[in-house]
Symmetry: C2
Subunit: 406 residues, 2 copies
């Protein structure tokens, strides 16, 4: 039986329910449920005969079929719809390294959204090792049961390395939500924001604050649609090849080589001046001030995506002249949250037996999401659909299918 998040029991216990924080409500919900997901049987095994067919001895015939050709696991088992949500708990939400047990509530929550919006059977795999090689090895060992892997909340650059290696070495797709999901939802929102503010990709300048998995994914997808005027910043300032080696890593070096930093631009303050778009995936609350927004171009697009507390409060951004604002949080309007992407995209990936998450696929999904809001309906606070919009899945599925067919 499903329980609504805000149960009637709580109200009885506490007449002053409205004063509870989300955190308090979450603690109560989790304590009551003791686990947000469960395994469910799709077949009855009540009689000896039913057991003989779903289990032994009847199942032996099915095992032999798969032993003869392991591809048939997609026909006869749950593999086709199983996704492992893999984390080592080193970057749980914005909270840092809390360990694998503490990551489990997030992974269960992710599994809920996978099921609710994509009918995907996702199971949390929270690993008691933070070593990249050990993580890669473990995921390879457990891969026979899964149709895809979702890499989640692992610190950067390790997460990028793991995703790259697993993509090469596994025969199932590897979706890195912090990288791929964030990139898609950001591009979807940006496509409509550009349309609304009458900007073209080739003449739009962007600052990306944050050079982790999300920043990396965003820069790659922006370039894929022709946005090349990009500056990336991190806690050291602008990401560029002239920085000390120990402030860089393999992925930041790549970012430096595909972005263009004019002479004399070193800090975030320098970077945002005269720019069209700010995308915040920095993890730093209140990083962008109102004064900085005022140094940007007219009608700037401001996406402070850090959760739960954005780089600038949407109201402050609006007061400073931002024309379109989107955050990653459910607390504000224009929710550019990954939940818009991962359940629907995974559904399409599994249905089409996609082997590799390509830039082309991510771009196609972003366009599909963006196009759900017709141009005439675009408003500063209506640039992306709501996660409950029933048109999302058909649109995403169509976009992915057209790639695999074509």
């Amino acid at each position: 039986m499903k329980t609504v998040a805000k149960g009637s029991d709580e109200k009885k216990e506490n007449g002053n329910n409205s004063k509870k924080t989300l955190g308090q409500e979450a603690l109560e919900l989790h304590k009551r449920l003791r686990g947000k997901i469960e395994i469910r049987s799709k077949v009855s095994v009540k009689s000896p005969r039913e057991i003989s067919i779903a289990y032994t001895p009847g199942v032996a015939e099915v095992c032999l079929e798969i032993a003869a050709d392991r591809e048939r696991a997609y026909e006869y088992t749950s593999k086709r719809n199983n996704v492992a949500i893999v984390t080592d708990g080193t970057r749980t939400l914005g909270l840092g390294s809390l360990g694998p047990e503490a990551a489990l509530p997030v992974m269960e929550g992710k599994a809920l959204l996978y099921k609710e919006f994509g009918n995907v059977d996702a199971f949390p795999i929270c690993l008691k090792t933070a070593d990249a090689e050990e993580i890669i090895r473990t995921v390879k060992y457990i891969s026979p049961v899964f149709g895809a892997i979702n890499v989640e909340d692992i610190e950067t650059p390790k997460a990028l390395e793991i995703t790259e290696r697993l993509t090469e070495e596994l025969d199932i797709p590897v979706f890195h939500d912090d990288q791929h999901g964030t990139a898609v939802v950001t591009l979807a929102a940006l496509l409509n924001a550009m349309k609304f503010t009458k900007r073209e990709p080739g003449r739009t300048s962007v600052v990306v604050a944050g050079a982790g998995s999300a920043g990396y994914g965003i820069v790659k997808i922006l370039r894929a649609i022709g946005i090349t005027d990009i500056i990336v910043t991190d806690s050291y300032g602008v990401v560029s090849k002239s920085r000390p080696v120990d402030t860089m890593n393999k992925y930041k070096i790549e970012l430096a080589s595909i972005t263009n930093v004019p002479e004399g631009v070193n800090s975030l303050i320098d970077a945002v001046r005269g720019k069209d778009v700010f995308i915040g995936v920095s993890g730093v609350k209140n990083l962008l001030t109102s004064a900085l927004v005022r140094t940007m171009n007219k009608d700037p697009v401001i996406f402070p995506l850090t959760n739960p507390d954005p780089e600038i409060h949407p109201k402050d951004a609006a007061d400073a002249g931002a024309r379109v604002i989107a955050t990653g949080s459910y607390k504000f309007e224009n929710r550019a949250n990954n939940a818009l992407v991962f359940p629907f995209t995974m559904r399409a990936i599994l249905d089409n037996r996609v082997r590799r998450i390509s830039q082309q696929l991510l771009v196609a999904v972003a366009y599909a999401l963006a196009e759900l809001i017709p141009k005439v309906e675009l408003r500063p606070f209506n640039i992306i659909p709501d996660v409950t919009d029933p048109r999302i899945q058909p649109a995403v599925s169509k976009a992915v299918q057209s790639l695999t067919v074509g």
Copy 2:
């Protein structure tokens, strides 16, 4: 929606349904369902507010609680009820080494029974490695998400080694069904068979055919209740210290040291002569002949437990004078199948936070199962309860709880 194993669709397609083999029905069922288990949400995540509580940002509070004390994962997450069914596919059913993908239908079937009879959330982990050290390491890495481990269908002696090592090195219980489950159901049936044939443990002689995980577990549990007159045989003959070293392993050496083989007893033929009980866990169809049964003591107890084809057909055993017969198969009466044990025992283990599967616990569960058939109701074909008997769980839970309290 649950589907019954023998669906109406099949009947429509094939009027001659009764002629289908179990294997054919199993193939059709598996093809139709494409997975017998699924993940289910226990909480609604339809509105932004619900998502904020079950997922981010509300869930952060829950993560922090667990980070402060990882024991709280039992209070706030699915860990308390999650079981990993771990296999490497090297000994799938009686079919040998079919690989991890081909093992999945069996593990899903096991998960069904765990859910149906024990309300346990079991998830299949079929590993793409057959190396004992790698299996141990992988299980340790994935352990944070699980409240217990079920080791399944791994070849012997590797399975025994893995179970031993994981029991030492993990902080959650490790149940080895082939060893522990088979031992319990065998003892439960034997306790009632001895009662019915008026035998006492101290004066009952037993031949165990099979020195794998099941044979090992059975000998240990028989000794725990005072049966000491035991001979074990395998494909080389009687397991004894005088055999060539390369026909033995660590566990067979232990078996040789705790069983008693009289001078001149070398083969199964020698071993069964004048014995009270035959227990077959050999994997060899038709191993025990009618002529051999006739060399045993009066009113012998015959448990040919190998699946799907027992060491002797129950009818042949009865014709040769067997007084009580039990098999491991759902095709015959007296179903001494592990399904009577693992779901109910795991439920009790999880509820009582049992850390270690002790011989004492296994014996207690066996007695609890046996005592469900009152002495006056004992018949040659009524010595153990049916898996659907609603009295099993309360009896097993009470038995396990009394140990943990006492």
